[in-house]
C-alpha cells in the first residue's frame, strides 16, 4: 500500500466507533405496514396478520423497515460517520458503492405498538482490497434497535464496498472468429403439417400433447395415425405443465456458438404420461437430479423462438411445523424459483419503505448500469426469510440472516432459492437450525450465506416425551 493509501486509511479509521444520530421510527410497529410487507413479499404466515392483535408478531425480516426514512427528502446527519467516510472515499476516487454483506440478528419477535430506535455505529474500515469489481475499502456499520423501554430487540450489520471499477480488458474478444449469422441462434424446429400444432401452442403459451380424437390416446412425438384405434382424426390437449425429470445431460464440448453455457438437456415425464426433450432452467447444473418435480416455463432464447422448458416446481407451503427431532444435518430444502417482476421489485421496495430510485425507476437503474430496476436488500432478506419459513412451518422463527450480496436481481430474471441444513442444536430448550442459503439468478449468485431458524421443541412445549 502506498503512503497515500495508508494516510487515507488512517483518516478513515479515525471515524471507527463514531455513532450517528439515533433514528426514531415515525410509527410504532403496526398492522397496515406488516400487511403491506406480507403482501409484497408473499409471506402468508397467519401469525403476522390473521391472529388476535395481541398475538400478532411482526415478521423478523422487517426489523430495519420501521426506522427507514420514508418517501421524503433525507435530512443530512452531520454526525453520521458513514457519510464522513464515504465523502473521504469519494474524494480519493473510490466513488462506486455496492452492498457487500448484511447480517441481521433478531432477539425476539416484535409486537404491535413497539416503537423502535436505531443507533448506527461505524465499526470497521478494511484494508485496501481487490475484488472482481475493482480495488477499494469495505466499510461496516452496526445498527442496534431498541424499543421504547430501551430493550435491545435486534441488530443489523451492513458492509459496503467503495471501489474504483477495474478496467475491463477487451483482450480475447478481438481474436475470436466471428460466428456466422445462422449459427448465432438456436436451431429452428423442423415442422410438418402434423406437428405444427405443437409449435403454434408454444407461441400461445400452451404445451400441447397430441391426442387421438377417437380413443384419446396421447402421443409425443406426434404420429399421423393412431396406432391404437386407427383414427387419422388427431387433436391435442394442453398439458398441465407438471412433470418429473427422467434423465438429463450437461453438454460441454464441442461448444455451440448459439448456446449459453452451462445448460442442461433433460427428458421430462409429463403428468399426463408422455415425455419431452427440453431444457431444465432456473437452477444450477449441480442442483439437477433425476426424479425432481418440475414445472413448465416458456422461454425465448431469441425473439423468434419460444420453447417449452422446465424448472424446479415451486414447493408447497408447509402448514405444519416440522419436528425438530426429525431434521437431519445435510438435508436439502426444495429449490424455489421466483420470477423477478417489476411488481415484486417495486412492491418490495415500497413495502420495505426503501425509496431509492434504482428500485422503482428504470432510467435510474440504467444510469447504474443495469437494464432494469433491481431488488433492494430488504426485499431479498424478506424473501429469504419467507423461503425457509415456508419449509419449516408456521411456528419456526427466523433468528438470524447473514448473507453476502452478489449479482443484482434485475427485473426479467428469475431468482432460485436453495438451502442445506448444516447444523442443528438445542439452545435454551429450543431447537436451532442453521441453513446454508444460496439465491442464484442468471448472472450468478444473488446472495449466499446462512439463516438460523428456531423451532419449538416438545420439551419447551411442556411435553413429557
Amino acid at each position: 500500500m502506498s503512503n497515500q493509501e495508508q494516510q487515507l486509511l488512517q483518516t478513515l479509521r479515525a471515524h471507527v466507533g463514531e455513532q450517528a444520530t439515533a433514528v426514531v421510527a415515525r410509527d410504532p410497529v403496526n398492522l397496515p405496514t406488516i400487511r403491506n410487507w406480507c403482501d409484497a413479499i408473499g409471506d402468508t404466515n397467519p401469525v403476522y396478520t390473521e391472529v388476535d392483535e395481541s398475538d400478532i408478531e411482526a415478521p423478523a425480516a422487517m426489523l430495519d423497515v420501521w426506522t427507514m426514512a420514508g418517501n421524503i427528502p433525507r435530512s443530512y446527519d452531520p454526525n453520521d460517520p458513514r457519510n464522513k467516510v464515504f465523502a473521504l472515499l469519494n474524494k480519493a476516487g473510490y466513488r462506486t458503492v455496492v452492498g457487500a454483506n448484511t447480517k441481521e440478528i433478531y432477539c425476539r419477535p416484535l409486537r404491535l405498538g413497539e416503537l423502535l430506535t436505531g443507533k448506527m455505529t461505524l465499526i470497521d474500515v478494511s484494508d485496501l482490497k481487490t475484488t472482481g469489481l475493482g480495488c477499494g475499502y469495505f466499510v461496516s456499520t452496526l445498527t442496534e434497535f431498541t424499543n421504547q423501554q430501551g430493550e435491545l430487540v435486534g441488530s443489523w450489520e451492513f458492509r459496503t464496498f467503495s471501489f474504483k471499477p477495474r478496467e475491463r480488458s477487451s483482450k480475447g474478444s478481438k481474436d475470436r472468429q466471428p460466428v456466422p449469422e445462422h449459427l448465432q441462434v438456436r436451431p429452428r424446429p423442423g415442422k410438418m403439417q402434423e406437428t405444427e400444432f405443437f409449435w403454434d401452442g408454444c407461441d400461445q403459451g400452451e404445451l400441447r400433447i397430441q391426442q387421438c380424437n377417437g380413443c384419446e390416446r396421447l402421443a409425443h412425438p406426434p404420429v399421423v395415425r393412431c396406432p391404437e384405434c386407427g383414427s387419422y382424426d388427431l387433436g391435442h390437449r394442453a398439458a398441465s405443465g407438471k412433470a418429473t425429470l427422467h434423465a438429463f445431460v450437461e453438454p460441454v464440448h464441442p461448444p455451440m456458438p448459439f448456446m449459453q453455457y452451462p445448460y442442461i438437456c433433460g427428458v421430462v415425464e409429463l403428468e399426463e404420461g408422455t415425455r419431452l426433450i427440453t431444457n431444465i432452467v432456473h437452477c444450477a447444473p449441480e442442483q439437477v437430479e433425476i426424479g425432481m418435480p418440475l414445472e413448465l416455463v416458456f422461454q425465448q432464447p431469441d425473439p423468434d423462438l419460444t420453447l417449452p422448458m422446465f424448472r424446479p416446481a415451486v414447493p408447497s407451503i408447509n402448514k405444519t411445523t416440522l419436528n425438530f427431532d426429525d431434521l437431519q444435518e445435510g438435508q436439502t430444502l426444495p429449490l424455489y424459483p421466483i420470477d423477478v417482476t417489476t411488481n415484486l421489485v417495486v412492491g418490495g421496495a415500497i413495502a420495505t419503505r426503501d425509496f431509492e430510485d434504482i428500485h422503482h425507476e428504470v432510467a435510474a437503474a440504467k444510469r447504474a448500469g443495469l437494464k432494469d430496476v433491481f431488488m433492494n436488500v430488504l426485499t431479498t432478506n424478506g424473501i429469504c426469510a419467507r423461503y425457509v419459513s415456508e419449509w419449516a412451518g408456521p411456528d419456526a422463527r427466523v433468528k438470524e440472516i447473514d448473507i453476502r450480496l452478489g449479482a443484482p436481481n434485475v427485473v426479467g430474471d428469475t431468482m432460485t432459492l436453495s438451502a442445506t441444513l448444516v447444523s442443528k442444536q438445542r439452545v435454551d430448550g429450543k431447537g436451532r437450525v442453521t441453513l446454508n442459503l444460496r439465491v442464484a439468478n442468471s448472472m450468478g449468485n444473488h446472495v449466499t450465506g446462512t439463516v438460523t431458524l428456531e423451532f419449538p421443541t416438545q420439551a419447551a412445549a411442556g411435553g413429557s416425551l
Binding site: 424446429p189 423442423g190 434423465a247 453438454p251 460441454v252 438437456c265 426433450i277 431444457n279
Partner: protein, 392 residues
C-alpha cells in the same frame, strides 16, 4: 423357426485401409482400396464379384466402386439404414442375398473421412431450408441444444446410472480394457498407448456424464468384407468365418439415437430382439460365446449390451466388468482389436473384421479356443448383430 440362411454363408475376406486422422484421399479411393484388399485376402477376382452392399450413410455408390475395381456385372446391390446400427445389417443382407442366390460373391464396405471432413462429434448444426422427416425428428431435440451423438447416448447413460448405481468409473473400465487391447494392435490409433482408470477420471467432460475417454476415436478410413457361401468359401484362400446367425432389430417407439419416449430407457429392447434371433438361429446360448465385439462408440453403451445379450443380468454389467470378465483371460474378452475407442471408429465395420480374425485365430489379442464370436452394432438406433462361428 430358424432363418433359412443361418450357417449357409461365411465371411471369406477382410480388407481395410490405414486408420488415420487425415487420409489425404477421397472416400471413394478409400472404399476401393479396402475392397481390393478384401478381394485379395479372399483370393477372388473382380469378375467374380456380383453383389455390393453398404450403408445409406456412405457417400460412395457401388457403381462408382465398380468402375475402379473392374467389376462389370452386379446382380444384387442394396443399402442399410441407421448409421452405426447398419454394421452387422450389411452382413445380414449379404448373407440373405447369397443364401437366396441373388448373388454369389458380395462385397460389403464402409468408407469415410469422418475425422478430417465430416466429423459426427461436431453435432447437428445445419439449418436446412425445407425440413425433411429427419429434420422434424431433430426438431424435438436440436432447439434444446441436444445436438451430438455423445449427448444422445449420455441421456441413456444418466438413466442407467440412476437405476443401477453405475458410475463414471464403471464406464472408465470399458475404456481401459479397450486401450489395453489397442496397445497390442499396430493398426490401432492407440497402439502402445494404454491408459489407467485415473487417466479416464482425469479426462475432460464432453457431455456429463461422459468424458473424453468414454468416446470413440473418430477416424478416416475404410473397411470391406467379402461374403460368399460356406461351400465357395472353403475353396478360397483363408479359413471361413461362418455366419451362423445375423439379425436386425427395431422396437416400440423406436427413434434415431433418441428412443427416450418408451417406458424403459435403461435397457436395449432392439438388442434383446437381435439376441433372441441370434441364439435361436445359431442354436447356441450366451454360454457358447467365447469373445465379443460390442459396439463402443461410447463406453456407456457397452454395459446394457452385456445385459441384452445375456452375459449378465440387468444392472449387473458394472460388476461383470469390474470382475475382469471383459479382459483377456476373462469370461468374455471384448473388443480385442481395441474397439472403436482404441483401434478406430469405423461405424462398426472394423469390429466385424476383428470377429473374423478371432475365428481365424489371428487377432493381436487372440484368446484360446474361440468357437463363436458375437458382433454387435450401434446402440440407441435400429440395430443389428451377428454370430461368427468356426467352420465345422
Amino acid at each position: 423357426m430358424t432363418m433359412t440362411f443361418s450357417g449357409k454363408t461365411a465371411i471369406a475376406g477382410i480388407g481395410a485401409t490405414d486408420f488415420s486422422k487425415n487420409s489425404g484421399r477421397s472416400t471413394l479411393r478409400l472404399a476401393v482400396e479396402a475392397c481390393e484388399a478384401a478381394m485379395k485376402d479372399a483370393g477372388v477376382s473382380a469378375d467374380m464379384i456380383d453383389g455390393m452392399i453398404t450403408y445409406t450413410t456412405d457417400e460412395n455408390h457401388e457403381i462408382d466402386l465398380c468402375r475402379s475395381l473392374g467389376v462389370e456385372k452386379l446382380t444384387h446391390f442394396s443399402r442399410i439404414h441407421h448409421s452405426g446400427g447398419a454394421a452387422c445389417g450389411t452382413i445380414h443382407q449379404a448373407a440373405m442375398a447369397v443364401a437366396s442366390g441373388a448373388c454369389n460373391y458380395c462385397l460389403v464396405y464402409r468408407a469415410f473421412n469422418e475425422r478430417s471432413e465430416q466429423r459426427f462429434g461436431a453435432g447437428v448444426q445445419e439449418r436446412p431450408p425445407t425440413p425433411t422427416p429427419m429434420d422434424v425428428d431433430f426438431g424435438w431435440s436440436s432447439p434444446f441444444g441436444l445436438l451430438t451423438p455423445a449427448s444422445w447416448v449420455a441421456m441413456f447413460a444418466s438413466r442407467y446410472m440412476h437405476e443401477y448405481g453405475a458410475t463414471t468409473e464403471d464406464f472408465g473400465r470399458v475404456s481401459v480394457a479397450a486401450r489395453r487391447h489397442a496397445a497390442n494392435n499396430p493398426n490401432a490409433h492407440f497402439y502402445q498407448k494404454p491408459i489407467t482408470l485415473e487417466d479416464h477420471q482425469n479426462s475432460r467432460w464432453i457431455v456429463k456424464p461422459l468424458r473424453l475417454l468414454d468416446c470413440c476415436q473418430e477416424t478416416d478410413g475404410a473397411q470391406a468384407l467379402l461374403v460368399t457361401s460356406v461351400e465357395r468359401a472353403r475353396d478360397l484362400k483363408g479359413k471361413p468365418a461362418v455366419i451362423s446367425a445375423a439379425a436386425q432389430g427395431s422396437c416400440d417407439d423406436q427413434q434415431m439415437m433418441k428412443s427416450y419416449y418408451r417406458k424403459d430407457i435403461s435397457g436395449l429392447p432392439e438388442m434383446e430382439l437381435c439376441a433372441d434371433q441370434l441364439y435361436r438361429n445359431a442354436e447356441i446360448t450366451p454360454g457358447d460365446i467365447q469373445a465379443a465385439i460390442l459396439y463402443d462408440h461410447f463406453t456407456a453403451g457397452v454395459l446394457p449390451q452385456l445385459e441384452a445379450y445375456g452375459f449378465c443380468d440387468r444392472g449387473e454389467a458394472k460388476d461383470f466388468i469390474k470382475d475382469g470378465n471383459i479382459e483377456l483371460g476373462g469370461r468374455l474378452p471384448i473388443n480385442t482389436h481395441g474397439g472403436q475407442i482404441g483401434e478406430a471408429y469405423l461405424h462398426g465395420m472394423n469390429g466385424i473384421a476383428e470377429g473374423v480374425r478371432l475365428i481365424r485365430g489371428d487377432s493381436c489379442n487372440q484368446p484360446q479356443n474361440v468357437e463363436n464370436v458375437l458382433v454387435t452394432s450401434a446402440t440407441a438406433v435400429p440395430t443389428s448383430a451377428l454370430i461368427l462361428t468356426q467352420d465345422s
